[in-house]
Symmetry: C2
Subunit: 398 residues, 2 copies
């Protein structure tokens, strides 16, 4: 079997995003044992940096040994016991998955639904809490990667406290791209993934858990169904002074995450958020010039994941295949009911640059000219350039 | 926060083992999307190479997105439904963990116990099967990493078929270090880890599942409690022609595993097994000269993980700390009831070399001379040299 030589790819899909060369290099660092004092300092560093990005003081702030989906499962199975009711916002693939995970651990999922692309209204969550009996938790997806919708969260934490429910948030796609204010918003369990706006390879799930949630977990009547994802066991490995063996940590991924978090710290969150907004605005302007419309309504759109309806004159599968094969550009298609209908374009972390926006728009224009659905070259690029020139202040952060 | 600069370490503990520079370099490969056709070929390559190492034709042969412990949990939660009885061999940490995982998913663990360091006798398994009602599975640890015991497996598969039970085997530490004959031994679910004899960083769990086990899984009355580890969903992603999105694969770890498996293929399994036997024999001879005795009885010892009783004149914690701090050598201490009593020295994959055996023995001799418990320098090295010189034929594989 030959050496694997990957084709060159510009990753502008729903993740993984492009990875900084420093992060790739960090993974090539020789391994340490998972109980080596030198490795334990790496874990402590990661906890420190994650607390900054999550905006939290939570002691339990760690990187779980699995992808973002493992983070989701961990959040649910640690909190939910058989028979517990959980209010779940369902407006896309990941809300749907949350409800499934609740049911798989014997919980009752109270689905609060909205059309794909729309948000879950706080009033609907409140109504569900009011008409249900005791609810163990409310679970919402901050950035619904299947639709590009940005879920408001700031009013839900208080609501959860009123109803004595924990607040679980999926921040897989949002973390480090838009503000995730764990403490200020009263989030009790928040999980993310590494391969989105953190621009680290997939394989770890950053997770933070409030003291309030830890108390609930301590008072469980039944043991957590998952041994691998059991927060009480994992805490013993991550806590300074304890560091008890649970499972072998994925050393190289932990190296990668430390370096990715260090890059986030160097840029600074405000500049990083501004960069995501700026490039998104330019992309959206360019796509609009080509006839694409955004799926989520104004004010509810994610800057790191732009979900647009593909106009009827464009063949979804053909154009995405051309982008990949002729230009080496990956963008995402629609999932579930949106299959064939939308594109999901990610400008996450390292992928969010002016060069990438212009490269993608230019490739689309070239395909459009050759396919006959575009007559004037440069319209999309011009629209993007106008967006860039109209946002001089935010550009400081680029 | 500064760049992380790891100390130099010789990894001779119970894993992670040393990683070949080619594997480290493979991880620095730029990322592809998890649905990119070029990435799907990497997955197919891994399946092909894993089938060779597992000695199986199983269609379902994959690398799970978690460490070896996730492989254990996946093996159990996919097979076991609430109320199912599972016969579990318990003679160390990992058998104990298997029983816990069975109970956490509502199964009944029928523990067949043996003292730590001993194997589970086939007759004891047969007795447990005969006196119990229907048993869903028998679960055994091939290489008990906490004790260094090598569990015979070849007679258990037929026994399982007689009793209509599935045969689950933990091959975390054994795979690619000693033969693991999945098809010939009638193993139905076999899982491993990457950081032992495969010499790949931790983070993935190779898993293979027989058609017989897949049929049992298809006939489940209840859905698998874990969404993340659900084989039926994972199969849809790994199967050629399907490749349905389940979760984002840990791309860089998959690159690493492909390269590690390629190195195993280049060496060849017989040569690799011989190398593990040879270096283990030399290590054991050297340790015996220093007063260490093997915990498992003759014929039941693992070549990749040597578990020795620490003689009373040697201070476990002090000497291990000296090895780490002054020599950069990591070896493992005892777990549970063996804490403070044994050392676990791993010669796994890339760590299994003549140079590493000699380096460790020499370091121990130096410590012994300085501490006063050794008077003649070179006794351990001499014993090791004798072992090497007495095994000329096997040395061909080094």
């Amino acid at each position: 079997m030959q050496e694997f030589l990957p084709p060159r790819r510009l990753l502008l899909g729903p993740g993984p995003s492009l990875v900084h060369p420093r992060v790739l290099r960090a993974m090539a660092t020789p391994l340490l044992g998972h109980l080596d004092p030198a490795f334990l300092t790496v874990m402590t560093d990661i906890q420190t940096l994650l607390r900054e990005i999550f905006h939290t003081n939570n002691r339990f702030t760690i990187a779980l040994s699995g992808t973002g989906s493992a983070g989701m499962e961990a959040a649910i199975v640690n909190v939910v016991e058989p028979g517990d009711a959980v209010v779940v916002g369902v407006n896309g693939v990941f809300g749907t998955r949350l409800a499934t995970v609740v049911e798989r651990c014997g919980g009752k999922a109270i689905r609060v639904e909205a059309p794909w692309g729309r948000i879950i209204e706080t009033a609907a969550i409140e109504a569900a809490l009011s008409r249900s009996g005791p609810v163990k938790a409310v679970a919402l997806v901050h950035a619904e990667t299947s639709t590009g919708a940005r879920q408001p969260l700031d009013a839900v934490g208080a609501l959860c406290r009123t109803h004595n429910a924990l607040f679980i948030v999926d921040a897989v796609t949002s973390l480090a791209g838009i503000p995730v204010e764990v403490d200020a918003w009263g989030i009790d369990v928040c999980y993310s993934g590494t391969q989105k706006c953190l621009s680290c390879p997939p394989g770890l799930a950053p997770v933070t858990v409030s003291e309030r949630a830890l108390e609930t977990i301590t008072r469980r009547r039944t043991p957590c169904q998952s041994w691998y994802l059991d927060f009480s066991l994992i805490a013993a490995y991550w806590e300074e002074g304890s560091r008890a063996y649970h499972h072998t940590a994925p050393i190289s991924m932990v190296y990668a995450l430390r370096e990715a978090l260090r890059l986030v710290e160097e840029e600074g969150l405000p500049a990083r958020f501004a960069r995501h907004r700026l490039n998104s605005a330019a992309l959206v302007a360019g796509l609009a010039a080509l006839g694409f419309t955004l799926l989520p309504p104004a004010g509810r759109q994610l800057p790191m994941l732009t979900c647009v309806t593909v106009p009827s004159h464009i063949d979804d599968a053909v154009v995405r295949a051309q982008l990949l094969q002729a230009y080496g550009i990956e963008i995402g298609g629609g999932l579930g009911p949106l299959k064939g209908k939308v594109w999901r374009i990610g400008l996450m972390g390292e992928s969010s640059t002016e060069a990438n926006v212009l490269t993608l728009l230019n490739a689309l224009e070239e395909i459009g000219i050759r396919s006959g659905w575009l007559s004037t070259p440069g319209v999309a690029l011009q629209a993007a350039a106008r967006a860039y020139s109209h946002t001089p202040l935010e550009k400081d952060g680029v």
